[in-house]
Homo-oligomer: 231 residues x 2
């Protein structure tokens, strides 16, 4: 019986792969690797590559980083057809995803389009926000606090309301939204209680404390900002 | 040079330990194991035990499950003194924690009390909410949605406001707050879009879809409820 595995590979550090992710990668027949741009390489692949069955077939698929649900749905549909055709041949198929497959992953667009007869197993991964907090040796939340995981792409009013109710926040997808985030954090008096982690666990990993100054320098790819109301 | 490690062991499945957690457990000199009640055993220990250095010294410490910051602070202080005294002897000391050390862990109360001269490394773990979503093969959030991680112990008005702004929610610490949660989910029209995962990855692990009926049966230890506005 074939199976389709969604495999979370964590945010960067190879050692943050789980034993389960390693076992599945070592035995996979086919691995689908998402690329943001065609032939541009994949960070998820760089993290996983030491563990991938050397006899596994590799397929690269383009998953553009866009905020367009329709496009993502179409790309997911295409990948789902590939999965189904290999599943019909009795193959075990893997799809690797940065961080965790249930948190803002293109993997969910494949699942949404997949024939229900294909057996699926999702393997959770270490999220960027947990790995970043670990790097800082700081809690994200304690006690009765609510934790908000906020894409910086979200509506500004929603972001403000989320901050109002939560004790800790992690801002993802900071990339293109530095100015918006600076404004929000200043308005909420949170800028001095915020830290940026860049390329967590990857080469060039950096912790930035003066985040306003740094965010103004430009686009911050693979960066996350963590804020807490009280330390 | 000695080090103090906060080690996330994930929610239950031994295979969800990371390679880093396993490496550190295999080499640790002393392991502090938190118990909710004295001599009551520890789920974190059950998950980790196959990997712990057989020559490691083990200390059990009582960390009561209470919503009292002062008590937690005092317990953390006591543990911090133990860590410092072993660190002075050049030992590597570990503290294991269910799920992730930065998300509602007693570990943060040790860090808060620890002499800054002790070197610390936090090892992130798979959270219960990521593992539960993986078990369901469902996303927690996609696209621009905000994810709210909500302790059922939080203030009801805050919980309602968090639900209003987020596309996906995970309710933790459901244990004693079944009725409150049923009311909130009914009021928000979310009860049919909510699923409960009990003892995720542990013996007796169960997925419950008719959660209202089930929650009414009584206390739900080690349970999590996941809701999504749209699937």
């Amino acid at each position: 019986m074939s199976k389709f595995y969604g495999i979370g590979v964590g945010p960067g550090d190879k050692e943050l792969l789980t034993l389960k992710a390693v076992r599945v990668l070592e035995n996979i027949d086919l691995l689908i690797i998402p690329e943001a741009k065609k032939s541009n390489g994949s960070i998820a692949y760089e993290i996983a590559k030491d563990f991938i069955n050397p006899r596994a077939e590799i397929i690269y698929m383009e998953f553009p980083m866009v905020n367009n649900t329709e496009i993502m749905y179409e790309v997911g549909k295409k990948a789902a057809r590939v999965v189904e055709s290999y599943a019909a041949d009795g193959k075990d198929i893997g799809f690797i995803t940065l961080g965790d497959p249930s948190v803002y992953s293109t993997y969910s667009y494949i699942l949404k389009n997949l024939d229900s007869e294909v057996e699926v197993e999702t393997i959770p991964g270490i999220t960027s926000f947990c790995a970043s907090a670990a790097l800082l040796n700081k809690p994200l939340v304690t006690g009765e606090e609510i934790l908000s995981i906020i894409p910086a792409t979200a509506d500004e009013e929603l972001i403000n309301r989320a901050i109002d109710v939560s004790g800790g926040q992690a801002f993802l997808k900071v990339f293109n939204h530095s100015e918006k985030l600076i404004n929000i954090l200043n308005e909420k008096g949170l800028i001095d209680n915020s830290v940026m982690v860049k390329r967590c666990g990857l080469e060039g990993c950096e912790v930035v404390h003066s985040i306003e100054e740094h965010l103004k320098k430009g686009k911050q790819y693979l960066s996350i900002v963590i804020s807490r109301k009280e330390y």
